[in-house]
């Protein structure tokens, strides 16, 4: 195939301007890569979620209760809208895992003795289903198995209803109910110390006095059924049996986390690529408009020879399209590669039978279409001027640029500004929009970096406040059942305990007018020091002697203010209903909480000094002894170790955050380099003649570099404060967007975050400047004597 002469010119132009073409292509590649990665991840995870839920019959409604007879099952099934009912026994026990010092918490979930289709069905990754009659066999969740390197054939110890049992692992399983495996009240998953184990109903029932009964029910809804109506009927049915309140998928913690993550990918997949492609469009505009103005003559010639306006415009459009398509061709595979990596990271958090990252043809085609759109958008104004240029006009040199007195003169400051600086200022003032857009683009580079580092700041702050200032215990012990005064004494005298503070947790439903929320009321000691209630500004809130202290978010959900009186429906024991005043609110960053004085809770429950557990400060040397003691204490349902949990958190979440931040930093550098490089190259092309003349007149290279790069330096400097504002704005926006009931990110960004962001952008800019400084060496001094620009 022979290339047309015009296409050959195109190739030569592209080669001639390869530096600029490459920077545009790199920014497009970043945009396309993030689009393919995030959009692909969104589509892949959403599809996998849907398929997994459908294939393994994820339930629609969930409820826990104290104990109900199996006969209630029929009544539940007859609730209008209920399709399938499944009752279970679910209990949490203390586990002893080999190689793990601390005790772990196992959630035992009953399954039928013979494998049959059920709600929240299991996918068996390895091993086999439990053999009928083998009461010591269990299946364990994959997350728990891989965190603790437990395999089929291994045994773990468990304290089951006061007895020490050995459980044999026969299979590794996954359930749609535990795609994200996290313990109810936790903020971060800790797969090492919390896991799900499945045992047969026949084995589990007798151990917990659940023969002929159940304490957990899951329901699937018939198509078109009203979830709210079913929840209401189910609650009324379960109330006499100690029902803790039914809830739908929205409040199912695994589903909630997974759905939030998918939604976030969707937003990121739109926002970040638009930013990059917007910048790419701007750069195309800069590069192409310069190309067109240097090629007025050829444009005139082509038109004079009979090429149509459109044919000439298409020629220049191709320039933009080729630059962008080179970027797309690099970005799409990069996006797929990053997507595969992201899917790999996701597999540590979200357990699906398979999570394949698929970037389908539709996604690739749409990425091509979007980047082509960016090219057209960027080329638009140049193409318009190509079409509008009459051939006769084009053959004449461009009329000299018009300048006027700059801002310095108008402010009467001319004397303070050197002539070289005046040149810089007037060049910027001549095309104010270009300068403004450059500053905005550069400020995005600064902003992206700030956002990337902000996540670390926010999480560090959150950890600092929540796990160092508020929660200062070494170990939290939770009892299987509330106990009296004796338990308080026993806990205080466990090995190595230096200080202990009891707490009482009561499940309840809080009501105010038409709003209600299921919550665990936490009764804390009034002079608590190991577990304090701390707001975002590190202010320690006092627990009122009577009445409630609510987190701001919970107050918002219920629509209450300090001074209001709300209804507490206790979901435990005698299930009393009480009117309790709200004494204040505290803006904690994690969860929804309601605090009371422990004696106020005891009074409300009309019980003696009863406790649900205790916060302990422990002599670190005696920790191992304490752990082994706790592992074998039947009354203990769970042990949480603060440092271990933080360590696991930093290993998982912080690691994946580091990867995404590194990618963001790289992208931000590309933007900075692309902006500075193209800005300076165009300036060099526009002013090369002028600068070469000055070299002839005896200016040295440093002086003309200042004139050329000073403009870019000024733009970069202007973009920094704006970048701070935009970056902080993004952080504020993200803080608001990511405010969920589960956690609220604090709006804190360290000075270091700002400093490092600036340092990176400035380094990228200076590096680019150094590259161009060397280019000034190559100015043709002799040519300027002879040629008109």
């Amino acid at each position: 195939m022979r290339l047309s002469a015009l296409d050959r010119k195109l190739l030569r132009d592209l080669w001639h301007m390869r530096g600029q073409v490459i920077t545009v292509a790199l920014i497009v590649a970043s945009g396309v890569a993030t689009y393919v990665t995030m959009r692909g991840a969104y589509e892949s995870v959403a599809r996998e979620q849907q398929e997994h839920y459908a294939r393994y019959r994820f339930a629609d409604v969930f409820a826990q209760l104290k104990r109900a007879p199996n006969s209630l099952t029929l009544q539940i099934a007859s609730i209008p809208g209920v399709s399938v009912v499944q009752t279970r026994v679910v209990v949490e026990v203390n586990l002893d895992i080999p190689q793990l010092n601390e005790p772990a918490v196992g959630r035992l979930v009953s399954i039928p003795e013979r494998q049959q289709p059920m709600l929240n069905d299991l996918f068996l990754r390895r091993g086999r289903y439990i053999e009928p009659g083998r009461h010591d066999e269990v299946l364990i969740s994959e997350a728990f198995s891989s965190a603790n390197q437990l395999e089929v054939g291994d045994s773990i110890g468990a304290v089951i209803n006061g007895r020490w049992e050995r459980l044999r692992i026969v299979g590794i399983a996954l359930s749609p109910e535990y795609v994200y495996e996290i313990r109810g009240a936790d903020v971060f998953p800790d797969n090492k110390r919390f896991g799900v184990l499945w045992m047969t109903r026949e084995a589990l029932g007798p151990l917990f006095n659940m023969e002929g009964g159940f304490n957990d029910v899951v329901v699937s809804l018939a198509p078109g059924a009203s979830e709210a109506a079913v929840l209401d009927r189910l609650d009324r049915l379960l109330e006499p049996y100690g029902g803790l309140g039914a809830y739908g998928r929205d409040d199912q913690i695994s589903h909630r986390f997974l759905t939030d993550e998918i939604a976030q990918d969707r937003v990121t997949g739109i926002f970040v690529p638009s930013l990059f492609l917007g910048i790419a469009a701007f750069l195309i505009n800069v590069v192409l408009s310069r190309l067109v103005s240097t090629q007025r003559n050829p444009i005139g010639l082509l038109k004079a020879f009979g090429y149509s306006d459109v044919a000439v415009a298409v020629h220049y459009l191709k320039f933009a399209l080729v630059a962008v398509m080179v970027g797309t061709a690099a970005g799409a595979p990069l996006g797929i590669w990053l997507g595969l990596g992201l899917a790999h990271i996701y597999q540590n958090f979200f357990r699906f039978p398979v999570l394949t990252f698929v970037a389908g043809p539709k996604l690739i085609v749409s990425s091509i279409a979007i980047s082509a759109m960016a090219a057209c958008l960027g080329a638009l104004s140049s193409l318009r001027s190509v079409i509008a240029l009459p051939p006769a006009e084009a053959m004449r040199p461009e009329s000299p640029p018009q300048f006027r007195e700059g801002i310095a003169e108008r402010l009467g400051l001319a004397g303070l500004v050197s002539i070289s600086a005046r040149m810089i200022l007037r060049n910027l003032e001549r095309r104010p929009w270009k300068a403004v857009l450059t500053v905005i683009g550069m400020s995005f580079a600064v902003a992206i970096l700030i956002v990337g580092f902000y996540f670390f700041d926010a999480i560090d702050y959150l950890v600092q406040v929540q796990f160092r200032t508020a929660q200062r215990d070494d170990v939290t012990v939770t009892l299987a059942e509330p106990h009296g005064e004796q338990a308080r004494y026993d806990i205080r005298h466990l090995t190595g305990v230096l200080r202990s503070e009891s707490f009482r947790i009561v499940p309840a439903r809080l009501r105010f007018q038409h709003c209600s929320k299921r919550i665990a009321i936490q009764g804390l000691e009034s002079d608590a020091d190991l577990r304090r209630v701390v707001g975002q500004n590190l202010d320690v809130a006092r627990i009122p002697h009577d009445g409630l202290l609510l987190t701001t978010k919970l107050a918002e959900v219920l629509g209450v203010e300090a001074g209001d009186t709300i209804t507490i429906e206790v979901l435990e024991g005698e299930r009393p209903t009480r009117q309790v005043p709200v004494r204040g609110t505290v803006d904690e960053m994690i969860g929804l909480s309601a605090y009371m004085d422990i004696s106020a809770v005891n009074r409300m429950m009309r019980e003696g000094p009863t406790v649900s557990g205790a916060y302990l400060s422990v002599d670190s040397e005696k920790l191992p002894m304490l752990y082994s003691q706790l592992k074998r204490t039947p009354a203990v349902a769970g042990v949480a170790v603060r440092e271990a949990m933080l360590e696991s958190f930093y290993r998982t979440i912080a690691e994946s955050l580091r990867i995404s931040t590194t990618a963001l930093n790289l992208f931000a550098c590309l933007i900075a380099v692309g902006m500075v490089y193209n800005g300076a190259r165009v300036a060099l092309s526009e002013r090369g003649h002028e600068l070469a003349s000055l070299r002839v007149l005896g200016f040295n290279q440093r002086e003309i570099s200042f004139m050329l790069l000073g403009e870019q330096a000024l733009l970069v400097s202007a973009s920094i404060p704006l970048g701070f504002l935009v970056g902080y704005g993004f952080c504020a926006l993200l803080t608001t967007a990511m405010q969920t009931e589960l956690y609220r990110m604090p709006l804190v960004a360290n000075a270091k975050t700002f400093a490092v962001s600036v340092l990176i952008v400035v380094t990228a800019s200076v590096g680019t400047g150094a590259l161009l400084h060397r280019r000034l060496n190559g100015l043709d001094l002799v040519a300027v004597l002879k040629t008109r620009e």
Binding site: S399, P400, P401, Q402, F403, R404, S418, I419, S420, R422, M423, R426, N427, R430, H689, E690, S693, L694, R695, V696, L697, G698, F699, N700, E703, L781, V782, V784, L785, K786, T787, R788, E789
Partner: protein, 219 residues
């Protein structure tokens, strides 16, 4: 060009004397621009030597050549090459700022007859006015050598004569060695000395008995 050596200049021996006005004449391609580049420190000859007072420019580095141009040489280009973003006064002051003992920029512009155009930008000036700004810019540093490459090449007859008149005055008042390169033989009459270049060699050196004032020139 391949392995064929092209000599732009060959066997040229030439002295420029203090205060003298020289016109270098020659058709295009004769090598006169190469000569000007060498004289101005923009280029060095492949063989032979160039001296400026006690400096040997033949072996000078790029930095030394830059310093030579900065301290001693004034250039006037065919297409003026003014900085479009600077006013006439600023274009001139730009050079005086990097000189050790410059003239007043404003004074230079008055000398070239532009005392009333100080604050105009190049786009607001005619070609002849722009060229006079270029001359003011070239002389503001008190150069010892003023090199002018086709200074009237882009101008019409009347304007060209005004520019030549300015050059003549600068030469007389500041005693600057002035070398004007041109293919316009009529200009030769205003010189002290005329050097005719042809095919890379000096074809003729002629001393004028009398320097004709630019006003009397005609072409």
């Amino acid at each position: 060009m391949g392995d064929v050596a092209v000599h732009a200049l060959r066997g040229v021996t030439l002295d420029l004397l203090p205060g003298e006005f020289v016109v270098i004449l020659g058709p295009s391609g004769s090598g006169k621009s190469t000569l000007l580049n060498i004289l101005g420190g923009l280029d060095v000859p492949t063989s032979g030597e160039v001296h400026y007072r006690d400096h040997n420019l033949t072996a000078a580095t790029r930095e030394e050549l830059t310093r030579f141009r900065r301290e001693h040489v004034g250039f006037v280009f065919q297409f003026y090459n003014l900085i479009p973003s600077l006013t006439a006064l600023e274009n001139t002051a730009l050079v005086s700022e990097i000189s050790e003992n410059p003239l007043e920029a404003e004074e230079c512009l008055r000398m070239v007859g532009l005392g009333d155009r100080l604050l105009h930008f190049p786009a607001q000036l005619s070609g002849g006015e722009q060229q006079r700004v270029a001359i003011a810019r070239a002389v503001v540093k008190r150069p010892e050598v003023l090199l002018c490459d086709e200074p009237t090449g882009a101008l019409d007859y009347a304007t060209g004569k005004i520019v030549l008149d300015v050059l003549d005055r600068v030469n007389r008042e500041l005693r600057t060695i002035t070398a004007v390169i041109t293919h316009n033989a009529a200009i030769a009459a205003m010189a002290d000395r005329v050097i005719r270049i042809s095919s890379g060699t000096i074809a003729e050196v002629r001393k004028n008995e009398r320097r004709v004032s630019p006003g009397e020139l005609a072409w």
